[in-house]
């Protein structure tokens, strides 16, 4: 595994993300049906299919992230479209001018993306959203010394973060309407966020 993320690796990330999400579509939608409206799987499948169809051969990571972000914004809809879209748009801004990303750069790019979600959604960790997977992933990436370690640790932190949403009471998004009844189910957005980071770790391996 290389110490740098470049356009080919990032492209294969998005391909793997598409595969993983398609494979887990029903599961994601079931999670959403339990505490939301049951479309999260379909929303992301639509988005990541479109991303892979549109991607082409971007000049650099910044261009790649921007295309991904704009495509997600234009095809996903729902809450997750603007949120994941903003994440990639912000990642694109943070990656500006960098032909490749080393471990430190990647941690900061990811942090910028996650911050984009937090700004757009006005959410904090602990409110049972995708942030509960992504915030620990940023911390794990920042703490790692090598890129492989960072990707693996981020994926694992996101997985645990998603799991940790199970007992939480939702305060943001559709699940919040349920109040206490939202506890006992994993958050679909946190679960899909963990899948995205798992896809990256696999793609870069």
């Amino acid at each position: 595994m290389s110490e740098l993320l470049d356009v080919p690796v990032l492209s294969s990330w998005l391909k793997r993300a598409d595969e993983l999400i398609a494979a887990r579509q029903a599961y994601l939608s079931d999670l959403d049906a339990a505490i939301g409206d049951g479309d999260h799987g379909a929303n992301l499948v639509r988005g990541f299919h479109a991303v892979n169809a549109k991607l082409g051969t971007p000049a650099d990571p910044a261009a790649l992230f921007k295309t991904v972000g704009m495509t997600l914004i234009g095809t996903v809809g729902g809450a997750s479209g603007p949120l994941y879209g903003s994440m990639f748009v912000e990642m694109g801004k943070a990656a500006a001018g960098k032909p490749t990303l080393d471990v430190a750069a990647w941690a900061e790019v990811l942090a910028a993306g996650v911050n984009g979600i937090a700004m757009r959604g006005k959410a904090l960790p602990g409110e049972k959203t995708m942030l509960d997977a992504l915030t620990p992933a940023v911390a794990a990436a920042r703490a790692a010394a090598t890129l492989p370690a960072a990707l693996g640790a981020a994926a694992e932190a996101a997985r645990q973060g998603a799991e940790a949403t199970v007992p939480m009471v939702a305060r943001k998004g559709r699940a919040s309407y349920l109040g206490e009844r939202s506890a006992g189910h994993a958050d679909p957005g946190a679960t899909s966020a963990a899948l995205l980071l798992a896809a990256l770790a696999e793609a870069a391996a």
Partner: protein, 333 residues
């Protein structure tokens, strides 16, 4: 899942094509990005009204496009809010120079997508105001939630503001009226059965043969509580009580009562509910001076009903009565 569809992924586009074919005199329909405008858009000098949201709630919003109501509607995928590019394109298409009012139901997805679109439209020089509708009293504590959902009140706001825009009110005044409608309308619904989103292929939730979901959302979101089935009069009471208490409605208020079918509940049952709801309003001293009864904001084939009660002032009454010529609401035109 037995539905009159071809492929789940084509539901929205094929239904739009059907609307275009059925209503050529009223509507123009654009694809990719998808949006519906009135046939004569943009109307020069008139404030344009735009709404949108997931598909599956028909006739809302596309059926409300036309003279005296919406200038444009942006349909998302089934139960999924539309995307900013749709909203942006529609906003530009209907702006007649007097600005565009976005009427947005309060769901995170809708709010975020409309926000992004409004920012982009403003960047392109279009004046945009957004009003968020949040009339659903089923969601109680708004400090710890995404806030109350936008439901039946949306239909009433779209009609009344459409009348006002047609009468020549400016963007600020139409937006103010819209906020006024939202501030004076309260709604609550109950589901007797779930519905099935085509791309999900199975019911969005399950209910026992004797259970109903009280306070359900229009996307099949679980409601306030799951309770045993009750008779119609009791259900009307359970819906009216929190509605009346919330505004609160007072003796002497004049109001519009809207009894809505969530899709699968037939008209005969709506009138049974209407009868009791009107009786309860009357006992409370509220005078029902206008009514709307039928399937106007639906959740596919879900059985159930929602009630909306709007306290009317003179302006609202006048603009409610104003002519409207759309596929789903039509009078006086």
């Amino acid at each position: 899942m037995k539905k009159l569809i071809n492929a789940p992924e084509n539901v929205v586009e094929e239904a739009l094509a059907g609307m275009a074919a059925a209503h050529p005199h009223l509507l123009k329909i654009q694809f990719d990005p998808n949006f519906i405008t009135r046939a004569d858009a943009p109307v020069r000098g008139k404030v344009a009204l735009l709404s949108g949201g997931g598909s599956g709630h028909e006739p809302m919003h596309g059926g409300f496009v036309g003279h005296g109501m919406l200038d444009a509607a942006c349909p998302g995928a089934v139960f999924t809010s539309p995307t900013p590019d749709q909203i942006l394109a529609a906003t530009k298409a209907v702006d007649g120079g007097a600005g565009v009012l976005h009427i947005v139901k309060n769901y995170t997805g809708d709010v975020l997508n409309f926000e992004m679109a409004a920012d982009l439209a403003k960047d392109e020089g279009v004046r945009v105001e957004a009003v968020i509708i949040d009339d659903d009293v089923a969601v109680q504590d708004s400090l710890y939630t995404a806030g109350r959902r936008g439901v039946g009140g949306t239909v009433l706001a779209e009609k009344i503001c459409g009348g006002a825009a047609e009468a020549g009110l400016d963007l600020a005044a139409v937006a103010e009226l819209c906020r006024g409608v939202n501030a004076n309308v309260r709604s609550m619904g109950v589901a007797l059965t779930p519905c099935t989103v085509p791309h999900a292929g199975k019911p969005s939730f399950t209910l026992g043969d004797d259970e109903i979901e009280f306070g359900v959302g229009i996307h099949g979101e679980p409601g306030r509580k799951r309770i045993k089935m009750e008779q119609a009069d009791k259900i009307a009471e359970m819906l009216m009580e929190p509605i009346l208490a919330d505004l609160p409605f007072k003796s002497g208020d004049k109001a519009l009562l809207f009894v809505n079918s969530l899709g699968g509940t037939p008209l005969v049952e709506l009138y049974i509910i209407y009868r009791k709801a009107a009786e309860i309003a009357k006992a409370h001293g509220v005078e029902i001076v206008r009514s709307l009864v039928g399937p106007y904001i639906t959740s596919l084939e879900m059985a159930g009903t929602s009630l909306s009660l709007l306290k009317l002032d003179e302006d609202m009454l006048r603009f409610w009565d104003a002519p409207v010529v759309t596929p789903a609401l039509r009078w006086g035109g």
